[in-house]
């Protein structure tokens, strides 16, 4: 794209060498467009005709400045959606006025087609469309690309070429005159072109001298314009690729000031709007003089006097005349105002100009599902590490991170030193995950630690859950964000047994009731039992029985012997000779192989907030959490429940990398604006405003009891939510397999039984049919269930 494409009317008689080639591009594009239109069916044409009429009606006074072709093009792109086309056209007209940027295709299209009709001789015109806009004496047709006029003039085309330009909205009589004149100029211009060039060069030099300082003064405004320009690129249908890429680069850069020096050439033409408006009469004068020179010397023009009086008009009168007519369409301010009302995007982009340091978010309106499917992203999986306290979950994960070079040797050494200082050297690897002082001094994981690893095939999010029974609420919130669990079991004597009675069991039940189908069982600390196969087999046997009881399918259970502290069979194969009986996969291989659950990408957005925090100065409010269903992208407006407040997504991060969108199954960090932090807390649901989750005070649930259940106060867990509540009534005991009512109003539900219960919440919370809930009482998980309906 030529930097001078946006050249103002101050340059309307300029010639630029660079531009020749661009003409070619435009012509080609125009040609394609024409072809596309040719391919229309009769049906389409009829629709197009009706649509055009409607759009013209809707556009009102702006319709004068819009060509049929343009309208049709818009209609074609919007599949005959009149309202969309209208807003698009309005928008475009507006932006064109402001940015003074050409919309090349349509105009060239017109130029070409008109030329075809009016001057058959030009059909042979190949690479150069020589539209000599020099022949537009009476019009400030400045926005056009400065074109070479050494070439064959297609004067007939010239007028049509410009008639759709907003400020070209000159009175009909004037326009008509020029059109009629066109054929006469034809020969003359051809002959006089060298003179013309010389004259133009002289003029240009003069003007450049005169305006030497002017653009520098407006550099701020220039950069602002540049940004506007940049923004509006998005709305255009046919983006020049080079523009696009430059735009992308710039979007990332925080400060627009830096951009200005990058393209000094563009600065000049992109004169701020008001200045241009004021200057226009003067330009008109010079332009028409130029044109009149042409007319006077080369042709016995029918109506040259008509143009000369124009020139001799008093400046004030001229200006008012000009503004009345040429600007009878919306002024830049009007458009700004109008589009603010009509179109949020433009309003936002305008605001962005105003406060350059804090860019407002603007949706790219991506079809995220399509983009996601086409993106061919690496397999994305989140897994939660479960197990009894002190079975080595954090250490195992620290080892995995270390072996995959996510954590460097230096950090590990530092941690080891610190750990030795308080006499817990074996905790060094666990400290990669356990970062708070509380966790380190006590040697216990308290809250979920999140980390990322990447292999050739996949990207994993590790959620390291606490094993201590007091922190099961945290574990539940972690497990709710995972696709599958990795259960860590201490193989050493007694540890395994105590775990089975303790949190190993509870974690398995919770993971299963959260709907996880696959499980990897990492039999840890094999080095302490000297890689005994007998011990491993014993554990496998007992765990298989247990897991199948918890309704995990046997084929979906993977057992892996390993040693987290030494790192054997985690990422590398076993080196210890005692462990050679095992030839299966390593933990990492198992992680890569495991099947992932279906992502509900096409459903309405549901995100459970796992954390609310202050990111940094630029992002005063950030949330993170797993997207359970649906998609989201930058610029989306989302609804936070139960506060029922909307927020705008300013930016998205997935695995600490900025992205434009996120889909179900990912755990993004969303930086939000337009919301107060008090409206968000852990356990909230973020959803699409159009499809909100209902707030519920009480609900019936089909509950599988793990402990005796009677009407009692409980803690209700739903994903990351933890709320006090109570079991109000036991409605019925159900058959475990058929779901039929076995007994109405049972006195008690015994462990293992399935019952329908009514759960009362302390306050209204967003819970939807089919969501999974876990009920706990006195530190024990009493049951897990499915929300059935509102009670």
């Amino acid at each position: 794209m030529p930097p001078k494409s946006g050249f103002s009317r101050a340059r309307n008689v300029d010639y630029d060498d660079d531009d020749v080639y661009d003409d070619e591009d435009y012509y080609d594009e125009g040609g394609q467009n024409a072809e596309a239109e040719d391919a229309m069916t009769a049906d389409d044409k009829e629709q197009m005709r009706i649509g055009t009429i409607r759009v013209r009606e809707a556009l009102g006074n702006m319709s004068d400045s819009t060509s049929d072709q343009k309208i049709q093009e818009a209609l074609w792109h919007y599949y005959y959606d009149v309202s969309k086309s209208v807003s698009y056209l309005k928008n475009k007209l507006g932006t064109e006025v402001k940015k003074e940027k050409t919309k090349p295709i349509s105009r060239f299209d017109q130029a070409a087609s008109v030329a075809d009709q009016n001057a058959p001789t030009t059909t042979g015109m190949s690479t150069h469309v020589h539209v000599s806009h020099v022949k537009e004496p009476a019009r400030p047709a400045a926005h056009r690309l400065p074109l070479r006029s050494i070439s064959i003039p297609t004067n007939a085309a010239a007028t049509d070429f410009f008639w759709d330009v907003p400020w070209g909205n000159v009175p009909f009589n004037r326009r008509g005159i020029i059109t009629v004149d066109a054929p006469h100029y034809k020969g003359a211009l051809l002959g006089g072109s060298s003179k013309l060039a010389a004259l133009a060069a002289k003029r240009r030099k003069e003007r450049e001298d005169a305006e030497a300082a002017a653009p520098k003064v407006d550099s701020d405004a220039d950069s602002a314009i540049a940004m506007l320009d940049k923004l509006s690129v998005r709305t255009k249908e046919n983006n020049n690729p080079s523009r696009q890429s430059r735009y992308l680069v710039r979007r990332r850069s925080p400060s627009p000031v830096l951009e200005a020096p990058k393209e000094p050439e563009t600065e000049e033409p992109e004169v701020p709007q008001p200045a241009v408006v004021i200057e226009s009469p003067a330009q008109r004068a010079s332009a028409s003089l130029f044109a009149s020179t042409l007319c006077g010397t080369d042709a016995a023009a029918k109506q040259p006097p008509l143009q000369l009086p124009d020139l001799s008009m008093p400046l004030a009168a001229h200006q008012s005349y000009n503004t009345m007519d040429a600007f009878s369409g919306p002024s830049p301010d009007d458009i700004k105002r109008k589009s603010k009302l009509a179109n949020g995007d433009l309003a936002e982009s305008v605001e962005k100009l105003a406060v350059a340091d804090e860019p407002r978010t603007k949706s790219k309106n991506l079809n995220v599902v399509d983009v996601f499917e086409k993106s061919g992203m690496k397999r994305m999986a989140n897994f939660v590490v479960l197990g009894h306290v002190d079975h080595g979950k954090s250490t195992l994960m620290g080892r995995l991170l270390y072996d995959l070079k996510v954590i460097d040797q230096r950090s590990i050494d530092k941690l080891r030193k610190e750990a030795e200082l308080i006499g817990k050297s074996s905790f060094a690897l666990a400290w990669v995950m356990d970062e708070t002082s509380e966790e380190r001094s006590r040697g216990v994981t308290v809250d979920i630690a999140t980390n990322y690893i990447e292999t050739e095939k996949s990207r994993f999010t590790i959620l390291d859950a606490p094993g201590h029974k007091d922190f099961i609420p945290n574990m539940i919130s972690g497990a709710s964000q995972a696709d599958f669990p990795v259960l860590v079991i201490d193989a050493s004597t007694n540890s395994f047994e105590s775990g089975l009675k303790g949190q190993t069991k509870e974690h398995i039940l919770i993971a299963r009731s959260m709907g996880m189908q696959h499980i990897i069982v990492a039999v840890n600390k094999m080095d302490t039992v000297a890689w005994s196969k007998a011990r491993f087999d014993d554990i496998v046997k007992r765990m298989t029985t247990f897991l199948t009881e918890a309704s995990f399918l046997e084929k979906r259970i993977t057992f892996i012997p390993l040693a987290g502290l030494t790192g054997e069979n985690v990422a590398k194969k076993i080196e210890n000779s005692a462990g050679h009986w095992y030839s299966g996969e390593t933990l990492l291989e198992a992680l890569e192989r495991i099947e992932l659950p279906q992502r509900n990408v096409r459903k309405a957005l549901r995100l459970s907030v796992a954390d609310v925090f202050k990111g940094d100065m630029r992002c005063p409010l950030s949330i993170s959490g797993r997207i359970d269903a649906g998609t989201l992208q930058v610029g989306d407006v989302v609804l936070a429940l139960p506060a029922n407040e909307t927020a705008t997504i300013k930016s998205i991060e997935v695995q600490d990398a900025p992205v434009d969108w996120a889909v179900a199954g990912q755990i993004p960090t969303l930086h939000l604006t337009d919301i107060d932090p008090v409206h968000l807390r852990q356990g909230d649901i973020v959803c699409a405003p159009k499809e909100p989750v209902k707030l519920v005070k009480a609900f019936t649930s089909k509950l599988l009891a793990f402990e005796p259940v009677l009407p009692m106060p409980v803690e209700v867990f739903r994903s990351t939510l933890n709320s006090p509540g109570s079991i109000r009534t036991l409605s019925a005991r159900l058959n475990k397999f058929t779901g039929e009512v076995v007994k109405k109003k049972p006195r008690i539900v015994k462990p293992g039984e399935v019952a329908r219960v009514v759960v009362q919440l302390e306050r209204e919370l967003p819970i939807e049919e089919g969501m999974r809930v876990v009920l706990r009482e006195r530190g024990r998980t009493v049951g897990a269930g499915l929300m059935e309906n509102v009670a």
Binding site: E435, T436, F613, P713, E715, P724, R778
Partner: protein, 424 residues
């Protein structure tokens, strides 16, 4: 509460009692004592309008003794205020019979109560309990977790949630736990300042005789101990004498969650029961725990729900040798007189006829709330019973089916014994 004077006939239960409430807790007792249709006499301030002969009206506020027949009582737990609405029962020069008035019972202002239905055993028990002069246990408790704290005042008969604090504490994040640490600091400082404001610690210099109430901190994990560390650090830093004096009275207990209903656990933990063994709430908590344990065993010796418990009492299962009837005092406040009578009769029967133990739980305690969830009444039986929860219709149907199968008289006996039916 001070019993100023009473005139209650033992036989019929008719009579009245003049009471002087002295502390906020007494308002709770008054609330439980005062029933619909009772006569209450107390000092009241009433605006009286007079129309003079000339037709002009003048209104003035007059303090007068009013007797009203209660139609409605309203108790505010937080402030401990009791409003008794009713209709004037005795006429005087300003007020006519039947006019409405709402009495605001206040501390240190006597009132007289006359029971419409007479003083039954439960009412007498409540009166006795209310006037028990022995010093009652009171303590402050804070149930806290990361970001939430419930500050409660526990008295003999009530657990009053004074303040709930919720502060968003960011969770630990990869590469930087600053947010978490800062959040916890902010949370602790807010909790402590709120707690001190609520406790209104006595200034050691002005009133040394006033006893410092013990403070219980309960939380899952290490939050409570971290909070204690914070309090200690803060007390030393600010050299806050009352706070320093409080430090030895702080006890730490474990609870499974930060929600107020897990206060139960903290109160039943050994560390606490040792200190507060003979308080009503710890007895109640222990009883509810016992009941829950027996429910879990599911051997038919624990039942809950009005109908089931009544049936169990009918069968004589709540009697001598371990039978316990747990009943919430909410049932005695029933608006319906018949309803109240039903429960009073049940209580009397268990206590006097069957020889079982009766525990009236305060529904203002967490244990009482748990009982409320179970239908306000529960019983621990002396022997197992089954099928108490059968519908009346289902019960009859079962009998009918059995009877239709019966061919011999001996079978009848067996079947009936199976159903725990005796032929009347």
């Amino acid at each position: 509460m001070k019993l100023l004077k009473s005139q209650i006939e033992q036989k019929t239960g008719s009579g009245w009692a003049a009471l002087l409430p002295e502390e906020p807790e007494d308002m709770w007792h008054a609330y439980n004592l005062i029933q619909e249709h009772d006569l209450i006499r107390a000092k009241a301030v009433r605006r009286v309008s007079k129309t003079s002969d000339a037709g002009s009206t003048s209104s003035q506020r007059i303090a007068l003794d009013l007797t009203i027949t209660v139609t409605y009582t309203d108790f505010d737990v937080g402030s401990g205020q009791l409003h008794v609405s009713g209709r004037v029962a005795t006429e005087n020069e300003y007020v006519k019979i039947g006019q409405h008035h709402t009495l605001d019972l206040e501390l240190n202002r006597k009132f007289t109560i006359e029971k419409a239905e007479g003083w039954d055993s439960v009412a007498l028990g409540q009166l006795k309990e209310a006037c028990d002069a022995s010093r009652r246990a009171q303590l402050w408790a804070v149930v806290l977790g990361e970001g939430t704290a419930n500050i409660c005042m526990i008295t003999e008969h009530q657990t009053i949630l004074r303040q709930k604090i919720e502060i968003a504490v960011p969770r630990k994040r990869k590469g930087g736990v600053d947010g978490h640490t800062k959040g916890m600091d902010r949370f602790f400082s807010t909790t402590l300042s709120t707690l001190l404001r609520q406790m209104d610690l006595p200034n050691a210099t002005t009133s040394p005789q006033e006893k410092t109430l013990p403070l219980l901190l309960a939380s899952p994990g290490f939050v409570a101990s971290a909070f204690l560390t914070y309090i200690k650090a803060e007390a030393t830093r600010t050299t806050n004498k009352p706070l320093l004096a409080l430090l030895p009275h702080i006890t730490i207990a474990h609870s499974s969650s930060e929600h107020i209903h897990s206060l139960n656990e903290a109160l039943s933990s050994p560390a606490i029961t040792n200190k507060l063994s003979d308080t009503k709430f710890s007895r109640e908590t222990a009883l509810m725990d016992k009941f829950a344990t027996m429910m879990r065993l599911d051997d038919g010796r624990a039942w809950y729900g009005p109908r089931e418990v009544e049936r169990a009492v009918d069968k004589g299962a709540v009697g001598r040798g371990g039978g316990v009837l747990l009943i919430n005092n909410a049932l005695f406040r029933a608006q319906n007189v018949g309803e109240r009578r039903r429960w009073v009769r049940l209580v009397d029967r268990v206590r006097d006829v069957e020889g079982g133990e009766v525990r009236v739980l305060s529904e203002a305690h967490e244990s009482g709330k748990r009982l409320e969830g179970l239908g306000n009444v529960a019983a621990i039986l002396t022997f197992p019973l089954e099928g108490l929860d059968e519908d009346d219709l289902g019960y009859l149907l079962k009998i009918f089916n059995l009877l239709s199968d019966i061919r011999h008289a001996s079978e009848l006996d067996i079947s009936l014994s199976l159903l725990n039916i005796s032929i009347v």
